[in-house]
Amino acid sequence: MSFVEYSELIQEGDVAIIFLGHDSMFPLMVQSGAQTQTRYGVIRHSTDLIGRRYGSKVTCSKGGWVYVLHPTPELWTLNLPHRTQILYATDIANITMMLELKPGSVVCESGTGSGSLSHAMLRTIAPTGHLYTVEFHQQRAEKATEEFREHKVDHLVTVLNQDVCKDGFGVTGVADAVFLDIPSPWEAVGHAKSAMKRQGGRLCSFSPCIEQVQRTCAALAEHGFGEICTLEVLLRLYDVRAVSLPLPDFGPDDPSRTDPGVPDRAGPSVPTNTAVTCRTAIAPREMAGHTGYLTFASKSLV
């Protein structure tokens, strides 16, 4: 297993995702001899997990069952322990495409936070790229380092515990892309520019507040960035359900007259139905209305 490469069978030391049912999952570290409690009973790692195929159904001690899934950055994002507010797949997907990330890309990121975006970027830039990620909080930097090692991606990433606004990313002239998710991104624009390759690159800044966006855009323009563009993307989920709509009763038909005045949905000779079922996509009561504004720009030599 690796977050950047699929494998077929579950092995000791893997991080697997246990799926219990709709919207119910959790990660676990596979260890020989270990046991994990779930509401369906106990999972015994040695007998139930190790050597079995990812995607298998595992029956727990109380009789219920779960599925064991191969980790992906998207599943990790939904299940990781939060140390900060994180980015979700919707924003991550756009950031990845707009920064033109691909295998071999060199990326600088700050702040590392809980590592949600970091894992997604590592997946995209593997096997030949590299991620330099800067986190000014010591414990978070350490936790991130530990997770990258457990997830077998540490060879692709360098974690720096410093303040990007003061000390930059620790590298210059190497990055194809820079990502900023910090309180004052305008203070890091200069460092971002020098971390990027001289012949150009892409930048993204994520900010929840429009005032931050304004200051960042101004700083980007001052530093000679082009193609400055700010957007937001929101996820709309739909629940697919069969709904039943009752039919009104207008009273019995008059057999002596054919009066087209009263519309009868069922038609002339159909027995009275009390309801009609249709399968439809229902929007949830509430949706995420805002995560943050994404500002993109290009550094160009010319």
Partner: protein
């Protein structure tokens, strides 16, 4: 990686060693940009290109850095813009407080269309024309500073003629197709494509099945994210896969070794195990195949034809001519058979790492059939311009089983204008970008131990479970 030296634009005086990938070369596939308009072309010396009502040659672009900007000079040659032109001076001479006294009678600009044409003929640059327009506008000095800025921006957009040459990428091509020819890509908006690539966990080293009728844009996007590692099997309807957009990515040659294709019409045989070696050769590539002609096969066919003609011309005897063309055909058929075999072998294991579908075909049968080639615990993503077919897919998959985390979604996209005291969302917004159904496969074949009592509402967020050794 090969390096080349390049002279930096004025006012730098140094040369820079850059990776060759960043330098425009003859034969490269590039994207021309002017403002919001993009066009994908191939650099071919001495070949005229039309873009935004202008004809020009791309010869002068060769040797420059990607991202360089040019102006079209008379005669159709590109002039590199070596220095950043100074902007129209920011200090404003005169401006008004509001528009209460400005009457729009269409007569405030004193220059006529002919006057402007004359200026253009005299060789005035775009910026100079804008300057002239400003000076000849009677209402300009009454406008507010903001209105003046807006006016200048608008005129610049019309008269300034700066063309940028970009290196193709999913971002740029997806933007281009969505703006220019959305019909060709089933109205797939670029952020929706971004979702598909991420939800599908497309990455180097995996084996992905793609079925699309988006001119090859989705295929190209998948290939870009795979970086030439792993393999992609493109399923195609009709005679051959369309890859016009894929070519525009300008992938290096070795990427094409990871690309396979397999015809839909042979899928049933493959699943039943009845795909015979003889049948494999009978695929009709040369037959009329509507708009689905394989561009590469087409090129191969035409170059093979050329070679054949040459050989025929040299060879005087009729028997010689016949045997050489029959030979040609045999070689082609054998190649086709080998390729089909290779694709079949990749599919046969039923262990693909992912499935991406984006087509004008009804997604249900496509998804239900092609999912059979995907390994358990792998993601799949289906795009559809409309919601109802995906609702049907969702229901059918629920009935059939074998998938979890089914999700029907769409994304909302909004751009912003960010200017001091003038920040707001842009006035026009995309009405829709299509819908996505995604999920993860699982292995349902193990015997179930009775119904799960899983209908209790799940807790909001599961904490990391305690593991006891």
């Amino acid at each position: 990686t090969a390096l080349s030296s390049i002279h930096l634009p004025f006012p730098n005086t140094s040369t820079l060693l850059v990776d060759e990938r960043f330098i425009i070369k003859d034969g490269d596939f590039v994207v021309l940009q002017r403002g919001d308009v993009y066009k994908a072309v191939q650099i071919q010396k001495k070949r005229k290109v039309i873009f935004e009502k202008q004809w020009f040659f791309l010869d002068n672009a060769v040797g420059e850095l990607y991202g360089s900007t040019f102006e079209v000079a008379s005669g159709g040659s590109l002039q590199p813009r070596k220095s950043k032109h100074p902007e129209i001076p920011a200090e404003v001479k005169e401006s008004g407080m509001d528009n209460r006294n400005i009457v729009d009678d269409g007569r405030s600009q004193k220059l006529t269309r002919d006057d402007i044409e004359t200026l253009k003929e005299q060789g005035l640059k775009g910026q100079e024309i804008v300057q002239q327009l400003v000076e000849n506008s009677t209402t300009f000095r009454d406008k507010t500073e903001f209105a003046q800025e807006k006016y200048i921006k608008k005129k610049k957009k019309k008269y300034e003629n700066i063309i940028t040459i970009l290196k193709p990428s999913t971002r740029i091509l997806a933007l281009m197709y969505h703006g220019r020819e959305p019909g060709k890509i089933c109205h797939l908006r670029y952020d929706t494509l971004a979702q598909m690539l991420t939800l599908g966990n497309i990455h180097a080293g995996s084996k992905v099945i793609v079925f699309e009728t988006c001119a090859g844009l989705v295929l190209g996007a998948v290939m870009e994210r795979m970086g030439g590692y792993g393999s992609v099997i493109q399923m195609y309807p009709g005679g051959g896969p369309t890859r016009a957009a894929t070519d525009s990515f300008g992938f290096p040659e070795h990427f094409h070794r990871t690309l396979h294709e397999f015809p839909l019409c042979k899928v049933k045989a493959l699943l039943a195990g009845t795909l015979s070696p003889d049948e494999e050769g009978k695929d009709s590539v040369d037959g009329p195949a509507a708009e689905h002609l394989d561009t590469t096969a087409g090129q191969l066919a035409s170059s093979a034809n050329e070679q054949r003609k040459e050989r025929d011309a040299e060879d005087s005897s009729p028997e010689g001519m016949e045997s050489s063309s029959a030979q040609e055909k045999k070689v082609k058929m054998e190649e086709k058979r080998k390729k089909l075999s290779a694709a079949a072998a990749l599919l046969q294991g039923r262990n693909a790492d992912g499935l991406v579908v984006a087509s004008r075909f009804h997604p249900c049968p496509v998804l239900l059939t092609l999912l059979r080639f995907v390994a358990p615990s792998r993601p799949f993503v289906v795009y559809c311009q409309y919601r109802e077919p995906l609702i049907e897919c969702y229901s059918k998959l629920r009935e059939q089983g074998g998938v979890i985390n089914l999700r029907l979604s769409e994304t909302w996209l909004r751009h912003y204008q960010v200017l001091p005291n003038r920040t707001h969302p842009v006035l026009l917004m995309s009405g829709g970008g299509g819908y996505i159904l995604s999920g993860t496969t699982i292995d349902d074949s193990a015997s179930a131990s009775g119904p799960q009592k899983a209908e209790e509402p799940a807790p909001k967020r599961i904490k990391l479970q305690e593991t006891v050794a």
